[in-house]
């Protein structure tokens, strides 16, 4: 896929807010898979440039505001 975005933006999830609604998985299967309980497993390396806008769409669609796109690393998995 394309090169990582220059700002180092990453898709990240606040697991406390996440209710396993899985709309992020539907909108961004490139970066999100689901565990056996239906919670998202998110690829947190910097997003490829081509996916940043898609990722923002997934963020907007998350019903609990659990997702975000930013350069801060909450912590390494």
């Amino acid at each position: 896929m394309s090169a990582p975005n220059p700002e180092g933006l990453r898709l990240q999830v606040d697991m406390i807010k996440c209710v396993g609604h899985a709309s992020c998985f539907e909108l961004l299967p490139e970066r999100v898979s689901l565990d056996e309980w239906g919670y998202p497993i998110i690829e947190t390396d910097p997003l490829p440039s081509g996916l940043v806008s898609h990722a923002r769409r997934a963020v907007a669609a998350c019903p609990t505001l659990a997702l975000r796109v930013d350069g801060k690393v909450a912590r390494k998995r």
């Binding site: 606040d14 697991m15 919670y39 497993i41």
Partner: protein, 432 residues
């Protein structure tokens, strides 16, 4: 190497232990041994910087488990825009450890001196002393606090007796909102903690070392320990040893030496759990010579962590012991994050199946998959403790595992458990 618990005077030869448990419970005794808090020596902005530099040069690392450099944490907190706050963390919710309780009982004023110095170093005027509620420690500390005349405002916080309530974001959450469950990062407490202020959360033993470094200097501090993990450290040695107790040791000591210091094994040892329930199983006798520090060593990255060390008899079943503890950790989840809420009970059930000989290759595979899936996916590190312990058990007890997979269990599963768990009556239900 010296390991002692009994009291001695402060003026020992270089490198003499004990350092922490030497002082006395009462303020008078404590002052007679350690003198006044050297606040005047570190007066003003320059003094503060000098104090943080001394802590940094001493190479002190957090004694709560993570082993993060204390000087670096202080530097970040002091650099914040708002006036910082200090939390002295004496919760020690880890059932395999009681060194913090011992320290707060034997040398409460050393901890308090350290907290006052840490507050001074980062420019804080408030210190929250956090301890588990429902024990006599809180009342005793409150009485000792009343004796003191410090330039900070003290507040004693009684924390719910839950495993994860001692986590730093949980303490901040409790103080801010009366809810002792961990919070998601960012922001981290050092950036934005109590009342939105930069918050220095340090374990009580760490703070006691801060007091000693301020009094005797970084050079003195480094007379014991290793280069990357200097100073003495408290460990709780339990299990099949003659004298289970809290010991003050020098990092770098071999695992076998630490067991010998606790009176030696009382029966053949199969493995030793190092680092409490956030730790790893070290097979014995191969692990005898493993040096114990806050750095990761050995094939599994073993580290002292919070200092819990438990010797498991060869006759006991490490898989069954681990399954019990993982079940306990699952029950102690704050039930906020899906992978922790659903993953830990599932892992505990799989592990129990393995331990009690109801395991087939499919279960074994599912267990590995679940461990990999859950690790790192909680808002706090709680699930990682459980998966690390489970992984370590599957590695260390691989031979037993093969036996169990064939449908056999060892007699060990019916022995009395060695790893301590709190009585259900002593576990809080609520988070308030």
């Amino acid at each position: 190497m010296t390991i002692m618990l009994e009291r001695g005077t402060r003026q020992g030869a270089p490198g003499t232990l004990p350092r922490l448990l030497a002082g006395g419970r009462r303020l008078g005794e404590h002052r007679a041994t350690y003198g006044q808090i050297p606040l005047r020596r570190f007066a003003g902005e320059d003094g503060r910087r000098t104090l943080i530099r001394a802590i940094t040069d001493a190479g002190l690392r957090g004694r709560g488990g993570a082993g993060f450099p204390t000087g670096r944490k202080m530097t970040s907190v002091a650099a914040g825009a708002k006036r910082p706050v200090v939390i002295a963390n004496g919760c020690e919710s880890e059932p395999a450890s009681r060194k913090d309780k011992m320290l707060m009982a034997c040398a409460p004023h050393l901890v308090m001196d350290g907290a006052v110095l840490a507050a001074h170093a980062v420019g804080a005027d408030r210190v929250y002393l956090c301890v588990e509620r429902g024990t006599s420690i809180a009342d005793r500390l409150e009485r000792e606090l009343a004796q003191r005349d410090d330039p900070v405002k003290w507040k004693l916080v009684r924390v719910p007796r839950r495993y994860v309530s001692s986590e730093e974001s949980a303490l901040v959450h409790l103080i801010n909102d009366g809810d002792g469950r961990p919070m998601a990062a960012p922001p981290r407490p050092y950036e934005k903690g109590v009342a939105g202020r930069p918050t220095l959360v340090d374990n009580v033993e760490t703070l006691a070392h801060v007091a000693l470094i301020a009094a005797y200097g970084p050079g003195w501090f480094r007379e014991v320990g290793t280069r990357s993990d200097p100073g003495s450290t408290l460990v709780t040695v339990g299990g099949a040893v003659a004298r289970p107790n809290v010991y003050e040791i020098a990092p770098g000591m071999r695992l076998g030496e630490v067991l010998d210091a606790a009176g030696g094994a009382v029966e053949p040892i199969g493995a030793v759990l190092v680092g409490g329930y956030f730790g790893t199983w070290v097979p014995m006798p191969d692990g005898w010579g493993l040096p114990l520090t806050h750095d990761r060593t050995g094939p599994q990255g073993t580290s002292l962590g919070g200092g819990g060390i438990i010797a498991l008899p060869a006759e006991s079943c490490g898989l069954a012991e681990t399954a019990r503890v993982v079940r306990y950790l699952a029950e102690e989840s704050a039930q906020q994050c899906g992978p922790c809420m659903f993953g830990l009970p599932a892992i505990a059930t799989d592990l129990a199946a393995v331990a009690y000989g109801r395991c087939d290759p499919a279960t074994r595979q599912r267990l590995s998959r679940r461990i990999a899936q859950v690790t790192g996916r909680g808002a706090c590190r709680h699930p990682d403790a459980a998966t690390k312990l489970a992984t370590s058990a599957l590695t260390t007890f691989a031979d037993d595992l093969m036996t169990h997979m064939d449908g056999w269990t060892c007699t060990g599963v019916s022995r009395d458990p060695i790893l301590p768990l709190p009585d259900r009556r002593h576990r809080d239900r609520s988070w308030k």
